[in-house]
Amino acid sequence: MIEIRWHSRAGQGAVTGAKGLGTVVATTGKQVQAYALYGSAKRGAAMNAYNRIDDEPITNHETKMNPDYVLVIDPALAFTDDITKNDKPTTKYIITTNLSKEELISQIPALQDKADRVYTVDAIQISLDTIGRSMPNTPILGALMKVSGMYDLDFFLDNMKKVLSKFPQKIIDANMEAITRAYNEVK
């Protein structure tokens, strides 16, 4: 079982990202869950989304998880959310930020004994450059593919194209570029 927790703001596409990831993973015969914890959340409110991935049908409906990966797609939430909540000694963190990894870790005490498991990527800037607006959900998945080694980049891109197929070609292309850049730039 792989468990992934997203830290996001409502409107940044974490739910779409989690469902997109689930859809790609399901094409490889695996079982998935993609869900979010939000109620009457308005755009900008902090929220969590979640993925579970396993070879067997997933029957655990507990919201809480002990994540293998924590994806922080809003830079400020790394400081204000409890991003290490319920973590494990092996949990890996992928955080969107414009700071260097060293600068970021020096400002977040909870990460200081986990430096070897922290990865950074500026998913906000990448999405601004490619998609033209702040939409860090797809680039963070590129970074996840690199850090986790879950799938190789070409396979993931091909399948994400299908997930995004209802969008105009220009938007699909921009997302592909964003995923590729994050894959290459995550440190």
Binding site: K19, V32, A34, Y35, G39, N60, H61, E62, T63
Partner: protein
């Protein structure tokens, strides 16, 4: 003619979307709906199918849930296949009309995405709305995950519209936990799903002008009781058709549904009885406890909540090995034991083994139900079994902050 919808063998759908696809495939004649969280995406999805040519029927936007169910009653009496969806306060507002629908024997399908009832206002999942409607004369079927939120509405049309039944059917799923959680779902292709549901057969439809009928009649003490008795008999007798439809669905898909689902019950010493997604979490906890600690835990779940399966619950609990059972109610009991406790106890009273039965109120307003908590409750049942008597108050609260609550004591073991 409605367009065919391209579907993959495996889709990643949440419960709401799965249900909306089932309604589309059943080619409902009229959906009259008023949106409410967390069921909104069902009718939103249906509206999109209508706008994009995937549905031939009518989509009627109304001013309230009372209007929605009234529209459904009118359309069903006129002679069409009818469905809608709601939750919580919307369900409460429909309640008056729910009794009209069942009394008029109109096979409407209502997809209920379970959510708590105010006050305090809360949009998350518990079974307050399901319990509010339990005496309204509808067949109640419960889905535990997204796949079932797709499968069971298809079965619901076939059950409710059957000429030996002709009753409305609710299909419940847990708000957010099921309705907003995307999982692997294996849909049927459109023509296969429609063929399973079958063409709608009108009975005493108002639009058959060659044979005028009265709907919504008034009867006082002279006839009312006979109508209600017949209605109750139809509900109690619907079990035969429910079993047949579940059998046909299994033959078609390999997915098996029973009026009472049982997990690890063959040699169980302790059991949890629950509804909804918690059934799956509790079953996982039972599996882990068996592996980790050798505690023989099992789970019993009424798939069909109305007509209540007293016979099958009794069969599930009438085992020499079974010593202690916890009934878990996800609805504020309002000055009584939980409904599941009361009904399961009534069924268990007629068993030879008479297991000890306790009651937990849990999960109100969407409070998380964890594997660890399920294990703790199993272990508490084991303590009752080892002591030979109930070691706690009969009714307790799970996962609530503040002073520990407990009501009713007994000295009796069994």
């Amino acid at each position: 003619m409605a367009k065919k919808f391209e579907l993959n063998e495996v889709e990643v759908w949440d419960g709401n979307y799965a249900t909306s696809q089932a309604l589309r495939q059943a080619q409902v004649d009229v959906v009259a709906a008023y949106p409410i969280t967390p069921s909104t995406p069902i009718v939103e999805g249906y509206g999109a199918y209508k706008a994009n040519g995937y549905v031939d029927g009518e989509f009627v936007m109304v001013e309230s849930e009372h209007g929605a169910m009234s529209g459904c009653v009118g359309a069903a009496a006129a002679g069409g296949r009818v469905a809608t969806a709601t939750s919580s306060q919307g369900f409460a507002l429909m309640t008056e009309v729910l009794y009209q629908a069942s009394g008029m024997r109109l096979p409407i399908v209502l997809c209920v995405v379970n959510r708590s009832l105010a006050s305090p206002l809360n949009v998350r999942g518990d079974h307050s709305d399901m319990y509010l409607g339990r005496d309204s004369g509808w067949i109640n079927i419960d889905a535990f995950n997204a796949q079932e939120a797709y499968d069971l509405p298809l079965c619901a049309f076939k059950i409710g519209e059957h000429l030996d039944v002709r009753l409305p059917v609710m299909v419940h799923q847990d708000g957010f936990t099921t309705s907003h959680k995307a999982q692997n779902v294996r849909p049927l292709q459109d023509e296969v799903a429609y063929k399973f549901v079958g063409d709608y057969v009108p009975v005493d439809d108002m639009l058959d002008f060659s044979r005028p009928v009265t709907h919504g009649a008034q009867t006082e003490e002279d006839w009312h009781f006979e109508h209600k008795a017949k209605q109750h008999k139809a509900l109690m007798d619907s079990t035969k058709v429910i079993d047949e439809v579940f059998k046909k669905f299994k033959d078609l898909t390999g997915r098996e549904y029973k009026r009472v689902e049982t997990y690890y019950m063959d040699d169980a010493e302790v059991a949890i009885v629950a509804l909804g997604s918690s059934v799956e979490t509790a079953t996982l906890a039972a599996k882990q406890l068996r592996e980790e600690e050798g505690i023989k835990a099992g789970v019993v779940a009424p798939r069909v909540f109305r007509p209540f399966p007293y016979d099958l619950i009794r069969d599930a609990l009438d085992k020499e090995s079974l010593k202690a059972v916890c009934c878990m109610d996800k609805s504020a009991p309002g000055g009584a034991m939980g409904a599941l406790f009361n009904e399961v106890s009534a069924a268990a009273y007629t068993t030879q083994s008479r297991p000890m039965i306790t009651n937990y109120i849990y999960g109100l307003g969407g409070r998380d139900f964890s594997i660890d908590e399920a294990k703790r409750i199993f272990k508490e049942q084991k303590a009752h079994a080892d002591a030979g008597h109930i070691t706690t108050p009969i009714q307790q609260f799970s996962g609530v902050r503040g002073p520990k609550l407990g009501f009713f004591e007994t000295k009796r073991g069994n």
